[in-house]
């Protein structure tokens, strides 16, 4: 994996971490509800775990598929899916629905998994995934499968670590210093930017296929 891909992976992780809808806001709410920073901090790993699971599924799937077919096929198919999904996110006025505030950490991880999946967080990594050097020996599936799996796990790990760091920093900053007033001033409509990012990611994947 080259430096550019790594940087892209980290940047996307930071972008996902920054999105209030991906979990830091929930962590802040949980902390405020009990006036407990510990509760905020406990929430963050669960949220990151759910995000990692969602991204990991895509990363591993792509890596495994690459070990049995050509990258070009995945890139074209995946890019098309991405552009379509992004357009749908952009034009649809539907939003994710979940109706509970009192969640166990396990439920919080599930919430994060669903939230990330519904928003196509893993899909956004597609250009990075297809841009990586193909796993060695994709002609014989078994070896390739092992290498692909570890590549997928590596990608997920790096991405999630970046997401976790940014989400954690924002959550603590809002909880400790900024306060919730910042939401009114600084909460840009990330859903729109997010959708555009998905479309861009799909476009990049297609162009470089």
């Amino acid at each position: 994996m080259d430096d550019g891909s790594l940087a892209a992976l980290v940047a996307l992780g930071a972008f996902h971490g920054l999105n209030p809808g991906m979990g830091w806001l929930f962590a802040v709410a949980r902390g405020l509800q009990e006036r407990s920073r510990a509760r905020l901090l406990q929430s963050l790993p669960a949220i990151a775990a759910g995000h990692a699971a969602s991204v990991g599924v895509v990363a591993v799937l792509v890596a495994l598929t690459r070990s049995v077919t050509t990258t070009r096929v995945i890139a074209v198919a995946g890019g098309a899916v991405l552009v379509g999904f992004g357009l749908w996110r952009l034009l649809s006025r539907r939003h994710f629905r979940w109706v509970g505030m009192r969640l166990s950490l396990w439920q919080l991880a599930c919430w994060s998994f669903l939230m990330s999946s519904a928003h196509g967080a893993g899909l956004m990594l597609l250009p990075v995934l297809t841009g990586m050097p193909a796993p060695e020996g994709h002609d014989h599936g078994l070896h390739g499968g092992g290498a692909a799996l570890s590549a997928g796990i590596f990608v997920t790990g790096v991405h999630t670590l970046a997401m976790f760091a940014v989400a954690g920093a924002v959550a603590v900053a809002v909880y400790e210093f900024l306060g919730l007033t910042v939401l009114r001033r600084a909460w840009l409509n990330l859903d729109q930017i997010w959708a555009l990012a998905l479309i861009t990611a799909g476009g990049v994947t297609l162009v470089t296929a």
Binding site: G21, A29, R35, R97, V99, G100, L183, N189
Partner: protein, 465 residues
């Protein structure tokens, strides 16, 4: 189109919401008891710096007659900031306006011309009946996965009432909210402790019990609602019924604490059939269960039977008839409407278990007919009824009509139409003499619920303390 920044009328916490700028317009539901002319949403200028302050400056007539507009609410509110499904870039711009008698629901858009909202959608009674199994829609709240619409009646007339869920954006009826309604049959209001996944509902009566006026036999037989119900907001299942005692007839408005860390709220009870008093109850946690206790009791006022309408003449006293209450956003002041005696009381509820009366004004009333200070020679019928509080808690608006059939029973010589505003400060609670739209200002319609532009004390719920 979605906004790039959160709707400026959304606030994460009640602490922030109390800093909201003063409202400049108020929307008032107004209906024609005779069902001869269409009901309307009247738009009032409530900007003290404006030349038309205190007058009706806009008017949206509905296309039908006989809807009986009553309560209504916004399409979106501060709950859009809640962390589990945040979507704060929607706009607070549509009023969801049910017709309590016709079961028709109108959606009005206040954005293009706030003084003359346009009708953008009508939900016909058949849609509400077929999809949700309900009729007589009442309270509207912007909730976690849709708009919650309480209903007094079932699809084919009488009970059980309950809650219908409407889509946030298309306003289509999604269906019945309850998965398991438990023992609740009579319905009225509903609201929630949103940060605790708890919904609370209250009881009035089925359409046949209320639409032709209060039925004496049912009241003395203690058959109107007298319980609170607690629900799991996530699972949509009934959790617990708390019976206030069957002498406490008609449990109406529910005002949970706005502070999401708190688990208490107030419910108003119209009448105690044993002594005609009215009461306010506090619900709270007691160990692992819900409990309720009476924290305010308002006695009936003795009166000459000749001065009383037939419905209460045998009792020789005027019941206070607490028919609406409202809690300020900072959870400090509770306003209690005594529609029978013509009094609006204010309580300091900083300690919710021990409310302290902190102000009272008289206006209207079955016997007193107290005039407004702006027109001291004009006796007023009706009493303070729907009460709404501005987000900063400094202004309180009241209207005088309760419900068509009941107005006629308690004020048989005509309930009239008026609205008043009070200035509420820690050391004073007084009428604003510049604000008194009345009589023909309402074109013969009777005013009911007031909604303030940008939100008010009973429109928003908050997920952050």
């Amino acid at each position: 189109m979605a906004l790039w920044k959160p709707d400026p009328t959304f606030y994460a916490s009640p602490r922030e919401a109390v800093k909201a700028p003063p409202e400049t317009l108020a929307y008032v539901a107004a209906f024609d008891r005779k069902a001869a002319q269409p009901d309307a949403i009247a738009v009032l200028d409530v900007d003290p710096g404006s030349d038309s302050y205190g007058s009706v400056v806009g008017w949206t007539e509905l296309p039908n007659t006989g809807d009986e507009l009553h309560h209504f609410g916004w399409n979106a509110c501060s709950s859009a900031l809640c962390p589990y499904a945040p979507h704060p870039h929607v706009e607070r711009r549509y009023l969801i306006v049910p017709g309590l008698r016709s079961s028709r629901v109108y959606v009005l858009d206040t954005k293009d011309d706030p003084k003359k909202p346009g009708i953008v959608k009508t939900i016909e009674p058949e849609e509400l009946a077929e999809r949700a199994g309900y009729s007589r829609p009442h309270t509207v709240h912007c909730g976690p996965e849709g708009l919650y619409l309480t209903a007094l009646g079932g699809a084919d007339g009488d009970g059980p009432g309950g809650i219908a869920l409407l889509d946030h954006t298309s306003f289509e009826v999604l269906g019945r909210w309850e998965v398991d309604r438990g023992p609740q049959y009579l319905a009225y209001d509903a609201w929630w402790h949103i940060a605790h996944d708890v919904l609370i509902s209250s009881e009035w009566g089925t359409p046949s019990m209320v639409e032709d006026g209060v039925v004496g036999e049912l009241l003395l037989g203690r058959e109107y609602g007298h319980a609170l119900h607690f629900w799991d907001l996530r699972k949509r299942t009934h959790v617990q019924k708390v019976d206030l005692g069957d002498e406490h007839q008609m449990v109406l408005e529910l005002r949970p604490a706005h502070d999401p860390t708190k688990l208490y709220g107030f419910a108003g009870v119209v009448v105690n059939v044993e002594d005609l008093s009215a009461s306010v109850w506090l619900w709270h946690r007691d160990g692992d269960a819900w409990a309720a206790r009476k924290v305010i009791s308002i006695p009936a006022e003795p009166a000459d039977p000749e001065a009383l309408p037939p419905v209460i003449r045998p009792f020789g006293a005027v019941p206070p008839l607490v028919t609406d209450i409202n809690l300020s956003v900072d959870d400090t002041w509770l306003y209690v409407s005594c529609w029978g005696t013509g009094e609006l009381k204010r309580y300091d509820v900083s300690d919710p278990f021990h409310p302290v009366e902190a102000g009272s004004v008289r206006i209207g009333g079955i016997v007193n007919r107290t005039p407004h200070p702006a027109a001291p020679d004009l006796p007023l019928a009706g009493g303070p009824q729907m009460v709404e509080v501005s987000r900063d808690g400094r202004r309180v608006y009241v209207t005088n009509s309760l419900y068509g059939a009941w107005d006629d029973q308690f004020y048989p010589d005509g309930v009239g139409a008026w609205m008043a505003k009070l200035d509420s400060a820690p050391d004073g609670f007084t009428f604003d003499e510049r604000f008194f739209p009345h009589g023909d200002d309402f074109r013969g319609l009777r005013p009911h619920q007031v909604r303030l532009q940008g939100g008010d004390a009973s429109s928003d719920s908050y997920c952050y303390p």
